[in-house]
C-alpha cells in the first residue's frame, strides 16, 4: 500500500479524521434507514384507531352479560346482581392466589369488565351465557384446564396464575363505557 510522504505526516491526523467521519456518517445513514423498516411492523394507524371501543350498557339487564371484541380479544361485561356483588365483596383475601379486593377491580360495582382470556394459556372461559358452566365460584370457568373464577373474575381454583385482566376503561356517561 502506498505510504504518505514524510512531509505530509502532520496531515495524517486530519486525514484520518476526515475518513473516519465519512464512514461514521455513512453508518449513521444506514442505521437511520433501519428504523422505518422496523417500525412498519408496529400497529398501523387503522389498527390503532380500533384500539379503543365504546360499549352502550343501557340495554344490559341485571344478571346479563355481553361479550364485545376489543383489540381482537373478547371483553366480558357483566351487569352483576346485588347477591353477586355481595359475594364478591365478602370473600376473604386470604383464600386467594392473587389477592385483590372487588373495589380495586370495578369502577361502578354493578358492572364488571374483564378481558375474557384465561391467564393460564389463553383460552376463553365459559360463563357469559345463562346455560354455561360457571365453575365452583359462580363466575367463569375455563374449560381447557379447569380454572375457576369468581364474580369479580378472580382466580380461585385451577392452574391459572392470576386474576382475569381488567382492561383500562372509563365511564363516559352512566351507560356508556370506553374500553382502551
Amino acid at each position: 500500500m502506498p505510504k504518505n510522504s514524510k512531509s505530509k505526516k502532520n496531515n495524517d491526523g486530519k486525514r484520518d479524521f476526515l475518513i473516519i467521519s465519512t464512514y461514521a456518517m455513512a453508518g449513521i445513514g444506514a442505521a437511520s434507514v433501519a428504523w422505518p423498516l422496523i417500525d412498519q411492523m408496529n400497529p398501523a394507524a387503522d389498527t390503532l384507531a380500533l384500539a379503543s371501543t365504546e360499549v352502550d350498557l343501557s340495554s344490559l339487564e341485571e344478571g346479563q352479560s355481553i361479550t364485545v371484541t376489543w383489540r381482537g380479544k373478547p371483553v366480558f361485561v357483566r351487569h352483576r346482581t346485588p347477591e353477586e356483588i355481595k359475594l364478591a365483596k365478602e370473600v376473604s383475601l386470604d383464600e386467594m392466589r392473587h389477592p385483590e379486593t372487588d373495589e380495586e377491580r370495578v369502577s361502578n360495582e354493578k358492572f364488571i369488565v374483564l378481558v375474557g382470556v384465561c391467564t393460564h394459556l389463553g383460552c376463553v372461559p365459559l360463563g357469559q351465557k345463562s346455560g354455561d358452566v360457571k365453575g365452583q365460584y359462580g363466575g367463569w370457568f375455563c374449560p381447557c384446564h379447569g380454572s375457576h373464577y369468581d364474580h369479580s373474575g378472580r382466580i380461585r381454583k385451577g392452574p391459572a396464575p392470576t386474576n382475569l385482566e381488567v382492561p383500562s376503561y372509563k365511564f363516559l356517561s352512566d351507560n356508556i363505557i370506553k374500553i382502551g
Binding site: A26, Q40, N42, A44, A45
Partner: protein, 416 residues
C-alpha cells in the same frame, strides 16, 4: 490461507473453521483493481446496492400487501396511508425499480463502450444479460401487483404477446393466466414469482461476481493488467470511491422519492383495475419503452414478438458478433461514433415507444429498429475489417504508445 493475519481471537477462531474473514480480506483488501477506472465503473456496485434496496423494501412491503383482486389496490393504499412509514417504503420500492434500470442501463452501455464483454469476459457479460432479463420479468410482474389500471392492462398486453406463437400460443396464454383473462390466479402467481425471482437474480449476481473476480475489472484503456504497478487494492481505494458514487446516486434517488415520487409512474395506476374499461393511452413503464417500440415497429404479430426478444438475444451473442480484439472505444475511432449513434437510437426508440403508433412515429420506429439490428448483426462483425484502430499503450501505468501508429486491430491481436 494463513490464519495469522487476524489478531482478534474470536475472528481467528471462526476463520480457522469457516474462512469467511479470509475470503473478505482477499476479495476486498487484496483484490487488485485497475487504478485508472473512471466513474462509469461505479455503476456495478450501484446496481448491487439497488438490488439489495429492492429486496429489503420488497420483503417489508409483502408483510403488508394482500394478493387478491378485491384487496390488492386497497392494501397498497393502506400501506400509503396507515402503515408506519409505509409511503416511504413503497415510494422507495416504486422509484427504486426505475433507478435500478437507469443504473443497469448505464452499466451496460459502459460495457459496450469499453468492450467489457470481450474475451476473457464473455461469460461475465452473458450472466449480466441474464440478470437484465430476470430484472425485466421481475419488474413487469411487480408492476401488476398494485392492481391499478396500468397494472391490469399492462399484464393483459404483455401476456398476450405469447399468443403470437403458432399452435401453442393460446394454450400458453391461458396457462400463464390460470384462467381466461388476467384475474385473481394471475395476480397470485405474479406475486409469488415477483417475490422469488429477485433471489434468483442474487444467485446470478454471485456468479457474475465470481466471473468478474476471475480476471478482474476491465478498464477505460481496455488493456490487460501488466503488474502490480497497474493496480490498487480494492479497499480502501474503491470502497471510498463507491461510497462517493453511492451518495451522489442517493441524492438523485432521494430527490425523486421525496419530491417527485410519481414522476416516473402513470396516473392511471391510481385507478383500480377495471377489466371492462381500457385507458385511452396505455404505455409500459419507461424502461420497457425501447423494446415496446420494436414490438410495434414490426407489422406482423409474431414478427414483432420475435424482434423484441431478438433485441435482447443479440446481446447474449455479442461477444462473438464483435470481431475486434481492441476493447476500449478510445482506440476505435469509427466504432466510437457508432456507439453514440446506438445510444441515441435506443433513446429514440424509448421516445417512440411512448408515442402513439401512427404516422411518422411508425416510420421512425422502423428506421430505429433497423439500425439497432444493423448495429449488432452487421456493424459489429464487419467493422474491424475496415477500421484502423489507434495504437494501444504498453500498460496502464505507462501510457506510452506501443506498436506502429497504424497497427490494426488484427495486428494487435497477433501481438498478444
Amino acid at each position: 490461507m494463513s490464519n495469522t493475519k487476524f489478531k482478534n481471537p474470536v475472528v481467528k477462531w471462526i476463520d480457522h473453521r469457516l474462512p469467511v474473514f479470509s475470503f473478505m480480506d482477499h476479495e476486498l483488501n487484496h483484490y487488485p483493481t485497475p487504478k485508472n477506472l473512471n466513474y462509469f465503473w461505479n455503476f456495478g456496485s450501484l446496481a448491487g446496492f439497488a438490488l439489495v434496496t429492492m429486496i429489503v423494501t420488497g420483503i417489508v412491503l409483502s408483510m403488508n400487501y394482500t394478493a387478491h383482486v378485491d384487496y390488492a389496490f386497497d392494501s397498497v393504499e393502506r400501506i400509503m396511508r396507515d402503515v408506519n412509514h409505509g409511503w416511504l417504503i413503497r415510494y422507495i420500492h416504486m422509484n427504486g425499480a426505475s433507478f435500478f434500470f437507469i443504473v443497469v442501463y448505464i452499466h451496460i452501455f459502459r460495457g459496450l463502450y469499453y468492450g467489457s464483454y470481450k474475451a476473457p469476459r464473455e461469460l461475465l457479460w452473458i450472466l449480466g444479460v441474464l440478470i437484465l432479463l430476470l430484472m425485466m420479468a421481475t419488474a413487469f410482474m411487480g408492476y401488476v401487483l398494485p392492481w391499478g389500471q396500468m397494472s391490469f392492462w399492462g399484464a393483459t398486453v404483455i401476456t398476450n404477446l405469447f399468443s403470437a406463437l403458432p399452435l401453442v400460443g393460446e394454450s400458453i396464454v391461458t396457462w400463464l393466466w390460470g384462467g381466461f383473462s388476467v384475474d385473481n390466479s394471475t395476480l397470485n402467481r405474479f406475486f409469488s414469482l415477483h417475490f422469488v425471482l429477485p433471489f434468483v437474480i442474487v444467485g446470478v449476481v454471485i456468479l457474475h461476481l465470481v466471473a468478474l473476480h476471475r480476471f478482474g475489472s476491465n478498464n477505460p484503456i481496455g488493456i490487460d493488467i501488466k503488474g502490480t504497478q497497474d493496480t490498487v487494492p480494492f479497499s480502501p481505494y474503491y470502497t471510498i470511491k463507491d461510497l462517493f458514487g453511492l451518495s451522489v446516486f442517493l441524492s438523485f434517488f432521494a430527490a425523486a422519492v421525496f419530491f417527485f415520487p410519481n414522476f416516473m409512474g402513470h396516473p392511471d395506476n391510481y385507478i383500480e383495475a377495471n377489466p371492462m374499461v381500457t385507458p385511452a393511452h396505455i404505455v409500459p413503464e419507461w424502461y420497457f419503452l425501447p423494446f415496446y417500440a420494436i414490438l410495434r415497429a414490426i407489422p406482423d404479430k409474431l414478427g414483432g414478438v420475435l424482434f423484441m426478444f431478438g433485441a435482447i438475444a443479440v446481446l447474449f451473442v455479442l461477444p462473438w458478433l464483435d470481431r475486434s480484439s481492441v476493447r476500449s472505444s478510445q482506440f476505435r475511432p469509427v466504432y466510437k461514433i457508432f456507439f453514440w449513434i446506438l445510444l441515441l437510437d435506443c433513446i429514440l426508440l424509448g421516445y417512440l415507444g411512448a408515442m402513439p403508433a401512427e404516422g411518422i412515429y411508425v416510420i421512425l420506429s422502423r428506421v430505429a429498429t433497423a439500425y439497432y439490428f444493423f448495429h449488432f448483426l452487421i456493424l459489429f462483425p464487419l467493422l474491424p475489417y475496415i477500421e484502423k484502430t489507434k495504437p494501444l499503450p504498453i500498460s496502464i501505468s505507462e501510457p506510452i504508445l506501443g506498436g506502429g501508429s497504424t497497427a490494426s486491430a488484427f495486428a494487435m491481436r497477433e501481438k498478444k
